[in-house]
């Protein structure tokens, strides 16, 4: 068979052939099945794809058995997905795989038990409510203060402190205490066996102060803790300051200002003090090449060896000492006076010393 490209490269003509040769190649290609061959089950006839429009019609592209049960067309499918929030088609060939992963579960018992979604939610709400408990928050929901008022105080304590005990505020306090006990039970808080004081529990409390300080809403933790901070001690002052830090950080962060960096080493791998250079790299590697002079410089080392090592010609010592000697060494600097002056300026101002000090530290 004559050469006429391939089905993958239809139209790759050999520029060295004549038009007649191309035609012969084309005839060979067509006689051997041509494009039909590349597409498999093709033959001529009126039942074939008739026009460009039909290339977008699945009923012309796949057997009816494959589309059995389909009650819409591609437009309907696209419309539904658009309603669901889909954007652009990325890879249509993934459709079968994606759809194959979707699961449909029949729910006949639920359907017969609840005639509407609202009915089911209402039922669920009444079932869940006893697990939630009640409190002084919005919608009767509990607040943190409802759990901890025996130490954090609240309006009834304010009333008693200001006006003394009476039947009303005593009954209210009695009720609040019972409710607090109930809430703690619902939340799984067992005051009879508090967790031991460890570094973990202490750190957990301390590092949560910023988060809690950001929420100073009535009934919230920040508000309660602020009122409990013992500002007659340094530690109490610090707790109040921590809450303020958290609140201020939140305000400033919303304006693009991050918190003060108090631990720049957070998350960094630890390293042995005896090997301070380990893990600290200034540059990545690259293939070695001769330096290119931009003036009439000469005298660079032709020897191998890494910069700063004793192998460099005219240099003794290694590390910072070697570098310094390299910079002040006996090199032919004709034509580099200006460069040398800048280099002198650089070294005299601390230059590399300054930079490497950071690494040696």
């Amino acid at each position: 068979m004559a050469t006429f490209g391939t089905t993958q490269q239809v139209g790759t003509f050999n520029p060295g052939t004549t038009q007649e040769e191309d035609q012969a190649a084309l005839n060979d290609f067509l006689n051997s099945g041509g494009i039909n061959n590349s597409f498999g089950e093709l033959s001529s006839g009126s039942d074939k794809i008739q026009n460009l429009s039909e290339l977008g019609d699945p009923t012309k592209l796949v057997p009816p058995s494959d589309l059995s049960g389909l009650t819409t067309n591609l437009t309907g499918i696209g419309s539904k997905f658009k309603d669901m929030g889909a954007g652009t088609v990325i890879d249509a060939s993934a459709a079968e795989n994606t759809f194959g992963k979707l699961e449909t579960v029949q729910t006949p018992i639920t359907d017969s038990s609840y005639s509407s979604m609202g009915g089911m939610i209402d039922s669920a709400k009444s079932q869940m409510s006893p697990m939630v408990g009640t409190g002084t928050g919005s919608g009767g929901l509990p607040t943190v203060r409802d759990f901890i008022h025996p130490v954090a105080g609240g309006s009834v304590y304010d009333d008693i402190a200001a006006n003394g005990l009476n039947a009303t505020n005593l009954a209210e306090l009695d009720s609040l205490l019972d409710n607090a006990t109930d809430l703690r039970s619902k939340a799984g808080i067992d005051l009879s066996s508090p967790p031991p004081q460890t570094l973990g529990t202490t750190m957990n409390f301390g590092t949560s102060l910023h988060k809690w300080g950001a929420d100073m809403s009535e009934g919230g933790i920040g508000n309660s803790l602020r009122e409990m901070a013992d500002t007659s001690t340094s530690e109490g002052e610090a707790l109040a300051a921590s809450l303020a830090e958290g609140r201020n950080n939140a305000v400033l962060s919303a304006n693009g200002i991050g918190p003060i960096q108090t631990n720049p080493f957070a998350g960094l791998p630890s390293q042995e003090p005896s090997d301070p250079n380990q893990g600290a790299k200034l540059f990545g590697g690259s293939p070695s090449s001769e330096p290119v002079s931009t003036s009439s410089a000469s005298g660079f080392s032709q020897q191998g060896g890494s910069f700063g090592s004793g192998q460099i010609q005219g240099q003794t010592g290694t590390g910072l000492e070697g570098l310094n000697q390299t910079l002040s060494g006996d090199y032919d600097t004709s034509g580099m006076a200006a460069d040398q002056a800048k280099l002198d300026d650089f070294t005299s101002s601390g230059g590399l010393d300054n930079a490497f000090n950071q690494l040696n530290r």
Binding site: F13, N51, L70, A95, K125, V151, Q197, D230, G256
Partner: protein, 271 residues
């Protein structure tokens, strides 16, 4: 209104971004260990950072006095005092204020859960299934987002989409299977001129910059239907990877090779 990927605020210390219409904090430095929090931890360890609220202390004094007095409130005051002091010692045990931190965490978790649950219940209680989309009629269809009810058969729907090869890749899903989507795709894949569709559309008076305008729907559809050159259909099908069709691609006769010889970018030809 914010658009997708609209970067809202980025500094060297923190940043937020609006992605997919949701504000996301993508970077905020962690600084929970500060001189203040460290000193507070010392107080938490030693039990010196927190104290019982002064008004609680005052209440205890009042209850103690009332309980010891022979009044109508004495019995109840005594009972309340017992409850209060018991709760106090549990919440803030002497020398172990760290446990109070755990109590706070658990209480806050409970409150947040309760709030989330109530918000969802309040939202859902006056809704019904169809409010959440077409095809959603019950709990079952809610779980598959109404797709089965809407499409009839998910497997078949998958095959229908896949059958068009890459034709609608990169096209908005609401144009899936539409003539407009096909024309957009043909042009996106540099087949608009080569296939002849652009010429057909222009001659029909279709504004190529306004293809989605419904007034052109019929003309676009007619234009696509009018292109019946077998070679053109074959090459377009090949470009989209529609390799094997049920109906079959019409045979190219070799009588019209203008598509091959006139569009090097279509099939990678070299001349």
């Amino acid at each position: 209104m914010a658009t997708e990927h609209d970067i809202n605020l980025v500094t060297d210390q923190c940043s937020t971004v609006i992605a997919e219409n949701k504000r996301v904090t993508i970077g905020t430095s962690k600084a929970a260990i500060t001189p203040a929090t460290m000193q507070a931890m010392v107080g938490i360890k030693n039990g010196t950072a927190l104290r019982v609220h002064p008004n609680v202390t005052a209440t205890i004094s009042a209850l103690t006095s009332e309980a010891s007095a022979n009044t109508a409130l004495s019995a109840q005051a005594s009972s309340v005092l017992s409850k209060l002091t018991s709760a106090q010692s549990g919440l803030l045990p002497s020398g172990n204020h760290a446990s109070f931190g755990q109590t706070l965490q658990m209480a806050q978790g409970h409150c947040n859960d309760a709030k989330d649950l109530q918000q969802a219940q309040d939202f859902l209680i006056d809704k019904d299934y169809p409010d959440f989309g077409s095809g959603i009629t019950n709990l079952s269809s809610m779980s598959d987002r109404g797709l089965t009810n809407q499409f009839g058969d998910l497997t078949a729907a998958g095959k229908a989409i896949s059958s068009t090869g890459s034709m609608f890749n990169g096209i908005s899903v609401d144009k899936l299977g539409t003539p407009v989507g096909m024309v957009e795709s043909l042009n996106k894949n540099k087949l608009g001129n080569a296939s002849g569709i652009n010429a057909k559309l222009l001659s029909s008076g279709v504004n190529m910059n306004d293809l989605s305008n419904p007034i052109y729907s019929d003309k676009i559809s007619q234009s696509l239907s009018s292109i019946n050159d077998p070679t053109t259909i074959s090459v377009v099908a090949e470009q989209y990877g529609i390799g094997s069709t049920f109906k079959g691609i019409p045979a190219a006769t070799g009588s019209d090779l203008s598509l091959y010889t006139g569009a090097s970018n279509l099939v990678g030809g070299q001349y």
